[in-house]
């Protein structure tokens, strides 16, 4: 459904994308993960045709992005990171407007709006001005506005940032339904649990390059890290953390807790405890975690996803 080949984007001397390539099959749920400034939004912007690439090719549903941008646009739906709605218009009027831009007839549009508002649990408030909505409700309308023309491909850029749990769950349900209906979805997120829950395949992007790609299982297998030992200390200082880091290079500090990334927790746990005792560190809690996307990401990029 989507083929991206050697995609480059330069802003003066800054290379935002350094020749990334990936392909996404029809009906696939593809997660694009990366820290801030990694190139996720640039990639989405190019695929959404609002940004011209410096080099490379993008093909969506058989249409070349450079030669046939309008057809590409008709094929895709975009849920931007920011809520982009007209606050002084009602939800229904907003949806009528956004849907009309895609050439959907008014009769058909009204029918679809009715269905979508039911789907997102906002039918009762369809005539209220958007400015009276909560952040979560606005975000639901923001997503709904990208679905009115029934796109084959949906780009979702951080669709659940800053919303209440109720709205998040509703969005998750809708996203799952859309995926089940056969829609191809490209999803960027900071939330690992979302990526782990939805994505068939994940591309990890860092500094303008795809550094790993595959299913969650494939990424787990390719990672040298198998487990994480999380130890909480009572008296961890910067100086003591420095000393620990010298002995254990693959560590990450979270306040009074250190995550030790290891391929053999049974062997390493005893050594870590011994080492901590020698340094005078008082252990409060120990937890051993299986490898997850967060740890894979950390091992691949050396950064946390929210960095």
């Amino acid at each position: 459904m989507i083929t991206v080949s050697n995609l480059k984007k330069e802003y003066g001397t800054v290379q935002a994308l350094k020749g990334i390539s990936f392909s996404i099959a029809e009906g696939e749920f593809y997660g694009l993960l990366g820290p801030n400034g990694a190139g996720k939004t640039t990639t989405i912007s190019i695929m959404s045709t609002i940004l011209e690439p410096t080099a490379g090719e993008v093909n969506i549903a058989g249409y070349d992005l450079r030669t046939n941008p309008i057809e590409c646009k008709k094929t895709i739906g975009v849920v931007p990171q920011e809520i982009a709605l007209y606050n002084d218009m009602s939800a229904q009027d907003n949806l009528l407007f956004w849907g009309s831009l895609y050439g959907v007839s008014k009769g058909e549009l009204i029918k679809r709006i009715d269905e979508i508002l039911h789907l997102f649990g906002l039918h009762e408030r369809k005539n209220d001005k958007v400015k009276t909505y909560s952040g979560g409700m606005k975000r639901r309308i923001n997503i709904a506005s990208a679905l009115l023309h029934q796109p084959k491909v949906l780009f979702m850029d951080e669709p659940t940032v800053g919303i209440d749990p109720q709205s998040r769950n509703l969005i998750f349900e809708v996203v799952e339904k859309l995926h089940q209906s056969g829609m191809t979805i490209v999803y960027t997120t900071h939330y690992m649990e979302e990526a782990e829950r939805f994505c068939n395949r994940i591309g990890v992007i860092d500094s303008g390059q795809i550094i790993a790609q595959g299913t969650l299982d494939e990424l787990r297998k390719s990672s040298s890290i198998k487990e994480t030992i999380a130890i909480a200390f009572a008296n961890l200082t910067d100086e003591l953390f420095q000393k620990i880091s010298l002995a254990w290079p693959e560590v990450k500090r979270f306040d009074q807790t250190i995550h030790f990334f290891t391929s053999n927790s049974k062997n390493d746990l005893a050594k870590i405890i011994l080492n901590s005792n020698e340094l005078g560190l008082d252990i409060v809690n120990i937890e051993i975690m299986k490898v997850n996307l967060e740890t894979i990401f950390l091992s691949l990029t050396g950064k946390q996803l929210r960095d």
Partner: protein, 423 residues
Amino acid sequence: MFQLAFKDLKLFFTDRRAMLLTFLLPVTLITLFAFAFGGIGKAKNEVKEYDLPVCDLDLTEDSKTAIAALDTDKAVHVVMVTLEQAQEDVKKGNKDCVLIFHKGFADSLLYGSPLPVELQYDEAQEIQVSMLQRALFTTLAMVPYSNRNNAQRMLNKQFDKLIGGGNEQLKAQVHAQSDSLFKSVGKGVEANPKTSSSTKIAIGSDIKMTKLVEAKEENSPGLIQAVAGTAIMMLLFSVAAIGAGLLDEKQEGTLKKLLYSPMHPNNILFGKMITANSISILQLTVMFIYATVAFGLDIFSHVPSLVLMIVVTAYACSSFGVLLASFAKTRQQVQGFSTLIVLVMSCIGGSMIPIFIMPEFMQKIAVVSVNYWSIQGFYDIFWRTLPLTDTTFLTRILVLFVIGSSLNLVALRMFKKNILQIA
């Protein structure tokens, strides 16, 4: 307290927009008003020449001498024209008036009859023309006496009238004394030519004043000036605000979302242009209807011309608003720029001060503003009652259309450039 004041002053002096509105705008307006009211230059007693169209229908030595005498006046520069052309120019608002030396001027001088000199003028320019009339009166009053023989003849005629019929002996005595008097004056002139040539005797000669273009129905020039001038100035402020809507779209992310749609990016700007045009047309229409209801301005006799002028004025003004929005980065910038530009354009273009009271060079500068062409267009319709097909009226329509189209083209280029910064 002082810390607060210091902080506020520091913020004030780093706020470019505040500085612009506080200092640059008033300074600019003071300068423009000073130029417009002719205040600049007067302190040095500089007198600006007025190009006076003069038509000589008498074509005698005496009429030519009189015209040459007029041309020596520092306030007047004589421009010889044909009567037809001059009247056409006045009717179309290109000239304020024309001074006509009718046939029989030389004979009138010879027989001491009232001089057949007529000033035909546009009533809308009455203030300007009345000032000119005073200057002409002084100069023309000297004309009969610039030639001693004429002067003596005219004086004798006046004495004869005063003495009345049947007193021929008394008349002959007076004529003999005036002959003696003028001979003495002649000797004095020969003895002191410099002083004598600069000393003139003014007795007076009327100039017939004829309105070539005058108020019809209820459409007085003051009302037209008030409605058209104010409407266009307020329209420019309105369209700047409408144009700023584009920046709101940018700031709120909806512009980016519009770009995701299959609509061509240029259509976003065209959509804004349509909005600005529609609201502008509506605003102007409402203003003219209000002027009709409240002040009796007759719009119904000129509907086709009025509709055309409203449409092109709306087009030119809305293009200005869209252009502002296309190069400004924020709504605040649009507000700052629009206040400055609209006030300056309104000042030089005749919205605030009628064009005819401005000095000539200011009148020439006025053509750069949308206000000028629109106001003159509305004068063409309501005052000069030019037909829709008149070339002067159509020229103003064309100029407004060209201004609008040029601004739109620049706006389109700027918009495309700015779009690249959105993503």
